[in-house]
Symmetry: C2
Subunit: 164 residues, 2 copies
């Protein structure tokens, strides 16, 4: 398995940065609500059609990761659960649940921010995106604005430790 | 990887059969709505607290597998996304998305019906339930009323081929 540090440094353009900044806004809002601060936006035909932060605590729904919520909202928005040609921007490396949801939604690409050493399915714990047993293949690129995403998470958990 | 045919023959009791029959009812209803006929129930403290069929087409939500829907409904029902001690009964071997959702919800056990040779994550395609890189561990037992679940799926796809 390739270690996350071995991943190539992708070249992200200004538009990628713009969309990831929107995902970071969702992450920050989620953190302010007491959720682990992770955010996502779904881009289709060059525009954001769904955006959400993590809402697991608010909804008491174990599946309410930001990615799952934007995939559902995006499908409803365009009236088709097949989100071909769409790109997900998410501040944290997806877990195996969210990675597989993206694959089944037939996304063109996942762009993620900071690695998740505990649950990351794009190289940190699993390489699920490149597992040849799973279809269809899905492309992913990590590391965009990773420091911003990581800072939100670190501050959240530091505060949590102080208050517990 | 253990092949599905190598899995032990679990001993299921009458209660297990009762709950799986309820999941089969949900699968049949889903099929009548034009969904791939898969159904699930979530059992907590000996009672069904959530039930659903697959609603991917109805909701145009790529994540709307029966398992994802019952996990969300169950969390809302008991006011806690941590569904420890709960058991999921589902008519089809879970895909990697649903398997991981069950793990993160901290379910005690998944009981499933018929194997899924295309996407099954409990032995058919992946052995995700037993992957030591993923935590916490989750127990699963397959094959309960498999023929009933399989018959629903076969009839559904046979009809679909006729009408297409």
């Amino acid at each position: 398995m390739a270690h996350i540090n071995d991943l190539p440094s992708w070249v992200f353009d200004e538009t990628d940065h713009t969309f990831m900044n929107e995902a970071l806004v969702e992450a920050a809002i989620a953190g302010a609500r007491g959720e682990v601060p992770v955010g996502a936006v779904l881009v289709h035909d060059g525009a954001i059609i769904a955006r959400s932060g993590n809402r697991r605590e608010e909804l008491q729904d174990p599946t309410a990761h930001a990615e799952i919520l934007v995939l559902g909202a995006a499908g409803r928005e365009i009236g088709d659960w097949r989100l071909e040609n769409a790109t997900l921007f998410v501040t944290l490396e997806p877990c195996p649940m969210c990675l597989e949801a993206c694959r089944q939604a037939r996304l063109a690409l996942i762009v993620w921010g900071t690695p998740d050493p505990l649950m990351g399915a794009c190289g940190s714990v699993l390489d699920a995106a490149e597992d040849p047993r799973l279809h269809p293949p899905i492309a992913q690129r990590g590391g965009l604005l990773a420091d911003n995403a990581s800072k939100l998470l670190k501050e959240f958990f530091a505060k949590k430790r102080l208050s517990s």
